[in-house]
Amino acid sequence: MLEIKDLVKKYGKFTAVDHLTVSVEKGAICGFVGPNGAGKTTTMRIMAGLLSATSGNVRIDEVDVIQNPRALREKIGYMPDFFGVYDNLKVTEYMDFYAGAYGIAYKERKPIIDNLLEIVDLAHKKDSYVDSLSRGMKQRLCLARSLVHDPELLILDEPASGLDPRARIEVKEVLKQLKELGKTIMISSHILPELAEMCTEICIINQGKLAAQGSVQEIMQRLSHKRIIHVQPLGEKEALLRVLKEQPLVRIVSENTKDVAFDFTGTDEELANILKQLVLAEIPLLSFREKEGNLEEVFMQVTGGQSV
């Protein structure tokens, strides 16, 4: 569906996007993550045909965005990170204006607009003035606007930025509906847990370069070089610590109040062997579990600790 190949964008000597190569399958929801200044917005603007690239190409359904930007406008729905609305325009008129701008015939507009306002839960506000809506409502309206021509690919740049938790949940619900409708979505967000929850894959971009791409689990497995295992003994920890320190694949053992944690670099079979040895040593255990990694930790690791 989407192929970004060797994309470069330079502003004088500054390289905003540096030989970026990303591919997204049809129907996928791809989270675009990176610290401030990583080149997320620049890449998304190039994809939307709002910015020319220095080199490289972006293809959507085998059509080059850079060579043929106008032909792709009906395939792409774009929602920028910052956007404004017009004064003195009602919600339906706002939608009607963009429907007209996408060349939708006048007679066909009403059912489309009504349906989209239902999806974004703004049907009750259709006669309200756009500038009187709350930030969250404007965000949802902009999302509806980007869907007015039924695009195959949605490019959403920070759709939940500046929203309160309730409004964020509402936007997330809309995105879930769009996922069910089979839209391919490229979304950038600084709320990593939300991305991990709704995205089928993640692209981590740092200093304009692709740092990692794949499903959340794949990335975490690939980038987490060590596994942290927590063992909770029943009673004294001395025997447990003694056995663990004898194991060659156990690197660091740290003692917590309730349990003992250790870094492990071996395979699942080797881990099972350690558990077997603890049982053979007759050390009573309450739990033996691997700590689940999260996207934030992976992100911090990949980007060298820079904030999103």
Binding site: Y11, G12, F14, A16, N36, G37, A38, G39, K40, T41, T42, R45, A48, G49, L50, L51, S52, I66, P69, R70, R73, E74, I76, Y78, P80, D81, F82, F83, G84, V85, Y86, D87, N88, L89, E93, F97, Y98, G100, A101, Y102, G103, A105, Y106, C142, R145, H149
Partner: protein, 301 residues
């Protein structure tokens, strides 16, 4: 299908009070001009009499006020068209639609022209005083309206062009006024300079004509001159500047206002096309301009 930008502008502009205030002010200015004319020509005259022929001068007064108001108001109405979209952060949303940059610019320009037409039509009752006394035909008024509209079109085109370059509307307005000033006075100086230097009237006729055609003041004067039949400009120009036996030059001098209208239309279209090229995000101009202005923002993304 109606241009969506024009349609939206028509809806939003007529909802606010500002444009009603502009129309009211415009009509008041015209009515005041007519009132002062009557006060000066009828009530302050020696015999307190009324000469219907003097209505020609009322026509000139009203036409001049209208022209001045249009020259002043068009930049103010149009110079914020694209910069306003940028300030409102709605330009990107427009550029990702199927609308071409040219249709966006044309929509903006047409909405300004529609408002100018509204202003002109709203002053027709004031103009009707002139026609009530039968001094001039309706064709004269229609020609004047066409001339005013082409002037508005040229100024609108230049205003949209500057609006694409500068973020601040005030800067665009000032630049359009400067361009208008250069067209009015700069071209006049260019025409008069050789005459003053040589003193014998032996100047290049074609060059003089080419210098005078862009002048909106001369164009307007030429139109009025033709309509009321005084032919001051024609005789003056032909005798002192263009003296030549060339029949085309004679026709050109006699119909300077027509040539000026053509010039205004060409300039309007050229600037509209340039404006469209400037906002085209994938065009060289657009991308360079955008990159310069939003470089900092991009680097933060």
């Amino acid at each position: 299908m109606m241009n969506p930008v024009l349609r939206r502008e028509a809806i939003t502009s007529l909802r606010g009070w500002k444009n009603y205030a502009v129309v009211t002010f415009y009509i008041l200015m015209m009515a005041m001009g007519a009132g002062l004319f009557f006060y000066g020509s009828v009530f302050q005259s020696y015999r307190y009499s009324f000469d219907p022929q003097s209505m020609v001068y009322l026509y000139i007064t009203l036409a001049a006020i209208q022209m001045a108001l249009i020259v002043l108001s068009v930049p103010a109405l149009t110079a914020g068209s694209i910069s306003g979209e940028r300030e409102r952060q709605t330009l990107d949303l427009l550029l990702v639609t199927k609308l071409s940059p040219l249709s966006i610019v044309v929509g903006k320009l047409l909405s300004s022209m529609a408002f100018v037409l509204l202003l002109i039509v709203s002053t027709l009752p004031v103009f009707s005083i002139v026609f009530y006394f039968g001094s001039l035909g309706i064709d004269s008024l229609l020609t004047l309206i066409c001339f005013t509209l082409t002037t508005a079109f040229m100024l609108g085109g230049i205003s949209v062009f500057f609006s694409c370059i500068y973020r601040k509307t005030v800067v665009s307005i000032m630049l359009v006024y400067i361009v208008t000033g250069v067209l009015c006075f700069g071209t006049l100086i260019l025409v008069l300079m050789p005459l003053m230097v040589r003193g014998d009237g032996q100047v290049n006729a074609v060059a003089t004509l080419l210098k005078i055609i862009p002048n909106p003041g001369v164009g307007f004067f030429s139109l009025i001159d033709n309509q009321i039949g005084t032919n001051i400009l024609n005789r003056g120009l032909y005798l002192y500047a263009i003296s030549s036996n060339n029949s085309f030059l004679y026709w050109a001098v006699s119909n300077l206002w027509l040539l000026h209208m053509a010039f205004q239309l060409v300039v309007g279209f050229v600037f509209a096309a340039l404006a469209a090229a400037l906002i085209n995000p994938m065009g060289e101009h657009g991308s360079k301009q955008k990159s310069a202005k939003t470089k900092k923002k991009k680097s933060e993304a």
